[in-house]
C-alpha cells in the first residue's frame, strides 16, 4: 500500500510533492524526468497574458518597421498575426499526453475577459486542474483593498461557472486580512489555495546606479508563513491547502502536513539540488512516518492546526513575541550579565 497517497482538489496523487510552476519542467524530456524522479504532480509553467501582449506588440513592430521605406511600398511582409496563447496551449496538451501523473496548468492574466477566455482554453487541453495566480503589486494610491479583492473574487466566480476542472488560487500573503479574503474565495468555489507566491523584488547596483535583476529563490526556513496559514485555515475552509515557498526537505513537508496542508509545491530546492531531491524528500517523509507508525498522510494531516490544538492556545498568535519581550533578560543573559543595555548605559 502506498502510504504517501493524497488527494488534492479531488485529484489523486501518489505523493504530496508537486513541482511548482517554473521553467524547470517545460519540455517533454524534463517532464518525463520529473515524473521518473517521483513527483506527485506537476504545475506547468504559467501562461502570462502580459508576455503574449508584449510578443504580439514586438511582432507588429517587426512586421511594419520597413513599410515606410519607399513611397510606393504598402507593406513589406505578408499579413502574419501572433499566435497568442496557441503555442503555450499546444505545449500543455503535449505535456499532458506525455505524463501519467496529474498536470496542472497555471494562469496569469491581466484583463477580466482574458482571465475567463484563457481559463476556458486551458480547460480544453485535458489538464487535471488550473491554478490562478492572483496578486496585486500596490502601485495605485486610489484603489482600495475591497476593490482589488472584489475583482479577484468575481474573476474566480466567472471561471468556476464556466469550466469544469478543479480550480486552485495561488495567493501572495499581502492582503489586509487574508483569512477573510480566502473565506470569500472559498465560498466562491475555489477548490484549493496555494500559499504563497514569491515575487521578484527590485534591487540596485550602487556602482552603476541601475536596477538589477536578482535571484528570487526562496531560502531554507522561508516556509514558516505558509505553515502558520495552513494551521489557521485547516478545517475552517472547504478547499484544500497546498503549501508553497521555502520548502526544501522532507522535514519541511512533515511540518506543513501537520499544520494542515494536503500537499506542497517545491521549486527552489529543485533548482538548487536537482530533480533527485524529490526522491530525497519522499524518503525523509516516509522514514518519519515509519518512525511514528503513521500508515497514511491523513492520519497526521492537520494534527497541529489551530482547531486541533490541545496545548498552547496562543501558538498561532503573537504570544511568542510577547514572551520574548517579557523574558528578554533571561533569553539574552550571557554568563550572568544581560546583553540588553539600559538607556543609561
Amino acid at each position: 500500500m502506498n502510504k504517501l497517497k493524497t488527494t488534492y482538489m479531488g485529484i489523486e496523487m501518489n505523493n504530496p510533492i508537486i513541482i511548482g510552476a517554473s521553467n524547470l519542467v517545460t519540455n517533454t524530456d524534463t517532464l518525463k524526468k520529473a515524473e521518473e524522479s517521483g513527483a506527485g504532480a506537476i504545475v506547468y509553467k504559467s501562461l502570462f497574458e502580459e508576455q503574449i501582449q508584449l510578443e504580439s506588440f514586438q511582432l507588429d513592430e517587426k512586421m511594419t518597421e520597413f513599410n515606410d521605406l519607399y513611397a510606393e511600398m504598402v507593406q513589406i511582409h505578408p499579413n502574419i498575426e501572433h499566435a497568442g496563447p496557441d503555442e503555450h496551449l499546444l505545449n500543455i496538451r503535449k505535456a499532458k499526453e506525455s505524463l501519467t501523473i496529474p498536470l496542472i496548468a497555471s494562469l496569469n492574466a491581466v484583463n477580466d475577459d482574458t482571465w475567463l477566455k484563457y481559463a476556458r482554453l486551458i480547460g480544453q487541453t485535458g489538464v487535471d486542474g488550473i491554478e490562478l495566480n492572483f496578486y496585486q503589486i500596490p502601485l495605485d494610491f486610489d484603489k482600495s483593498a475591497k476593490e482589488i479583492e472584489d475583482r479577484q473574487i468575481n474573476i474566480l466566480k466567472e471561471i468556476r461557472q464556466n469550466i469544469s476542472i478543479p480550480v486552485s488560487v495561488k495567493l501572495s500573503p499581502d492582503y489586509s486580512n487574508i483569512l477573510n479574503f480566502i473565506k470569500k474565495l472559498d465560498e466562491a468555489g475555489a477548490n484549493a489555495f496555494v500559499l504563497f507566491n514569491s515575487f521578484f523584488q527590485p534591487d540596485i547596483d550602487i556602482i552603476s546606479e541601475k536596477h538589477i535583476r536578482t535571484s528570487h529563490f526562496s531560502n531554507i526556513g522561508d516556509y514558516k508563513k505558509s505553515l502558520r496559514h495552513a494551521g489557521l485555515l485547516f478545517e475552517n475552509i472547504k478547499a484544500d491547502i497546498c503549501s508553497s515557498l521555502g520548502i526544501f526537505s522532507g522535514e519541511d513537508v512533515v511540518k506543513l502536513i501537520l499544520s494542515g496542508a494536503s500537499c506542497v509545491q517545491v521549486v527552489s530546492t529543485i533548482y538548487k539540488n536537482g530533480l533527485s531531491q524529490i526522491y530525497n524528500i519522499k524518503k525523509e517523509l516516509e522514514e518519519w512516518m515509519d518512525n511514528k507508525n503513521y500508515k497514511s498522510i491523513d492520519e497526521f494531516r492537520g494534527k497541529l492546526s489551530r482547531n486541533r490544538l490541545s496545548g498552547d492556545p496562543f501558538v498561532y498568535k503573537r504570544a511568542q513575541y510577547v514572551d520574548l519581550l517579557l523574558n528578554s533578560d533571561e533569553i539574552f543573559k550571557v554568563e550572568g550579565t544581560s546583553r540588553i543595555s539600559s538607556p543609561e548605559d
Binding site: 521553467n23 524547470l24 524534463t30 535583476r213 536578482t214 535571484s215 529563490f217 527552489s268 529543485i270 533548482y271 538548487k272 539540488n273 536537482g274
Partner: protein, 63 residues
C-alpha cells in the same frame, strides 16, 4: 574588462536557468556547457546575470 574565459564547475543541477538567460553562450546537455567560439564580449551582461542567478553558483568567468 572583457570576458575572456567561462567555465562550469562541478555541481551543476542542469536547471536550465543559464541557458534561459543567455542561450548564445550556455547550453544544457547532461549539465550546463559553455558554447565555444562565441564572442563573449557581445553577451557580457547576460553572462554575468546567468552567473549571479545560478542557484548553485558554478558559473565562473575571467575578465
Amino acid at each position: 574588462m572583457v570576458i575572456s574565459k567561462i567555465w562550469i564547475e562541478d555541481g551543476c543541477t542542469a536547471c536550465g536557468l543559464c541557458e534561459e538567460i543567455c542561450p548564445e553562450v550556455f547550453k544544457i546537455e547532461d549539465v550546463a556547457t559553455v558554447i565555444q567560439g562565441v564572442n563573449y564580449g557581445e553577451y557580457e551582461e547576460k553572462i554575468k546575470e546567468a552567473a549571479t542567478s545560478c542557484p548553485v553558483e558554478v558559473i565562473r568567468y575571467i575578465e
